[in-house]
């Protein structure tokens, strides 16, 4: 596995408050990596340090095994938590301006712009000013400006904030397209349900410290208790005697099985379907949220407060 981005023992304090405390993580090349945690966990600070917007107090940050150079900025697409653009500029102007700042050739920007505007259903607005767009349209425009220069690393802070469900789908599909191009994608969110559907790898952080990290499936199998739900027709009383089934809660045509760690769910399915008609058989993975609560021992994921948006 190719380590694209590697953070080692990164620390950052504001006055006495430790925003990021001894954080280490590895983002593999071409993966979708989610930094997940409640507000105030240190996600934005971590991302700003990766972007070299702020400097860590200590620790090492490597891109492709090297210290990031100024040139590295050109290969990153960055969407900060708080979105905004120059309101008075025309769409084509601001797309060109921000691509220019990335050192992306003007001709390539021009040739890609229409395609992107089309993809985001903004083609009719190319010669309009940013302020004439609705909030949702501005969000989509900002995605164009984040991605048009074909970055090799995309960093999105609070990816889902302010997006309506339609745009969330649109953005997910675009990110999956980017991943197919071989782009590495790093994003932060506190919306765990969304992260679960998108990430290959995750890092859960809380209070500036890493709670756990790794491949999403591994994290789930490692920390989860496996549960199976079955809808069926027939007498399912034999099921509780199948090896590997620890406990059963049952209704008339519905059963929920709690499995032991080494149980083989596929073997259980075969045994069940031999004797009863199975309408639905679902392996219930534990939610990230539940893992987070269990591992970090956090009670609440309350709304944000305080003076800095997210340190």
């Amino acid at each position: 596995m190719n380590e694209y981005l590697k953070l080692t023992n990164i620390c950052k304090s504001y006055d006495e408050k430790k925003a990021v405390d001894n954080l280490s993580l590895i983002v593999p090349k071409g993966s979708i990596y989610g930094i997940i945690g409640p507000n105030g966990a240190g996600k934005t600070t971590t991302i700003r340090m990766i972007m070299n917007i702020i400097a860590p107090d200590s620790g090492e940050l490597l891109i492709n095994g090297q210290k990031p150079t100024d040139e590295f900025r050109n290969f990153v697409g960055y969407l900060p938590e708080e979105r905004g653009l120059y309101k008075k500029m025309f769409l084509h102007e601001i797309i060109t301006f921000l691509a220019d700042l990335k050192g992306f050739p003007g001709k390539k920007t021009a040739s890609l712009m229409d395609e992107w505007l089309e993809k985001m259903s903004l083609a009719d607005y190319k010669n309009k000013r940013v302020e004439e767009l609705s909030k949702g349209m501005q969000q989509k425009l900002q995605f164009i400006t984040t991605l048009i220069h074909q970055p090799e690393l995309i960093i999105l802070d609070e990816l889902f904030s302010g997006l309506d469900p339609l745009n969330i789908e649109l953005v997910k599909n675009i990110l999956l397209d980017e991943k197919r191009r071989g782009t590495t994608i790093l994003f932060s969110t506190h919306v765990m349900e969304q992260a679960e559907k998108l990430c290959d790898f995750i890092c859960l952080i809380n209070g500036g410290r890493k709670v756990l990290d790794g491949r999403l499936t591994e994290v789930k199998s490692k920390f989860g208790t496996n549960t199976i739900q079955i809808d069926m027709e027939g007498d399912g009383s034999f099921i509780r005697n199948i090896p590997g089934v620890k406990a059963v809660t049952s209704d008339n045509n519905y059963m929920e099985l709690e499995l032991s760690a080494d149980a083989d769910s596929q073997a259980i399915l075969r045994q069940v379907s031999e004797k009863v008609a199975v309408r639905r058989f679902e392996i219930m993975e534990p939610s990230l949220y539940k893992i987070f609560i269990d591992v970090a021992g956090v009670k609440s994921m309350g709304p944000k407060s305080g003076r800095e948006a997210d340190v």
């Binding site: 700003r48 917007i53 900025r73 708080e82 120059y86 700042l101 900002q142 003076r307 948006a309």
Partner: protein, 433 residues
Amino acid sequence: MSKMWIIIKREYAQVVKKKSFLVGIILTPLFMVGITVLPAMLATKKAADTEKIAIIDLSDNNIGNKFRESLAQYKLDNDDPAYMVTEIHTINPSDSLQLIQRREELDSLIRDKELKSYFVINSRADESDSIVLVAKSFGLRANSRFERELSYILSGIRLEKSDVNLAIDSVLKLTRNIEITHLAPGGRERDFFSMYLGGIIFVMIIFMTIIGYGQVLMRSIIEEKNSRIIEVIISSVSPFQLMAGKVIGLGLANLTQIGIWIIFGMIIYNFRGNFDISPQITATIFNPVFLIYFLLYLLIGYIMYSTLFALIGSIVNTDKEAQNFIFPITMTLILPVMIAMYIIQEPDSTIAITLSLIPIFTPTMMVLRMNYIGIESFSLANPMIVEATLGLILTALTTLFIIWATARIFRIGILMYGKRPTLPEIIKWMRYR
């Protein structure tokens, strides 16, 4: 560097493309003329019409008639007499009733604008110097003429009464008042009007440039902070590149504006026709040594102050919060204008020199002083050249320090939203890595 150029281009375009840029080009000179030239011109302008004057003469030496004759020498531009004495009432000083009646008549004539003013020449005016002028308003120029002519007449009367054994006319010639011509070392002719005007115009250019463009810079940073685009920008360029790009971009827009003024000024100057431009003003404006220093001070003053405005923009969240910080900056800039009268009289005083060497005051104060003291060549024998150069060096060093400090605060400030930071917090930011 090329990224900074992209910032510069955008900032420049954003200002120059706006309608307000065009409006500023037209309105700013009008405003400057309005607050500098007009009052001065009004105070010294020649009257457009013949002033009608009446005289009540209580003396027995025929002063009224002599005064009328002496006023005949003053002409308007079109050769009409400047003053016309409509009536001379010779009244016996003991007839106070008639005096009161006459004065009431003349007062009402003035109110009806039939008459500009009237004199009351008291009895034995030559001994008491007691002459009253009644008018709604007094012109500086007319007043000095009246005083001169009346002094002359009264001196003549006093001489006649004395035992001087000389032809009175020739004695009077000896005692004639003069108007002093003011010359600067090196022979440049100056008068109060052009000295004041010259100095204030140049200070106003610096002042308006800095305040105008400084606030544009500050607002654009506040706007970028509020719209949060600033974070996108500094993911591509360093905060310092952003700040410097903005300062330079707006500076170039400013130069464009001044360039347009210069071109128009030259066109107007070439087509001025018969309009008389004081040679003293021309001499000031076309003094290359002064202009070089002026442009250097304009440049360094702009950089120093606009960096300060960038600093303010980075630590506040709203225009309203910024106002508290702008006030002291405005005061430091306007100080030379407020004390210009003193500087004109004492441009070499310790206070003037000291103030002009305090970097924050230097750009405006030094320009003001250079104008009054006069610099004709780069000779170090002229202490003004030494001081102007020293001021330039001190200001440049201070500006470098301000840029360094601002860059350190700026990079943190633009990411901080919410409560306005306190001074200790800002100092802490400077120490962050």
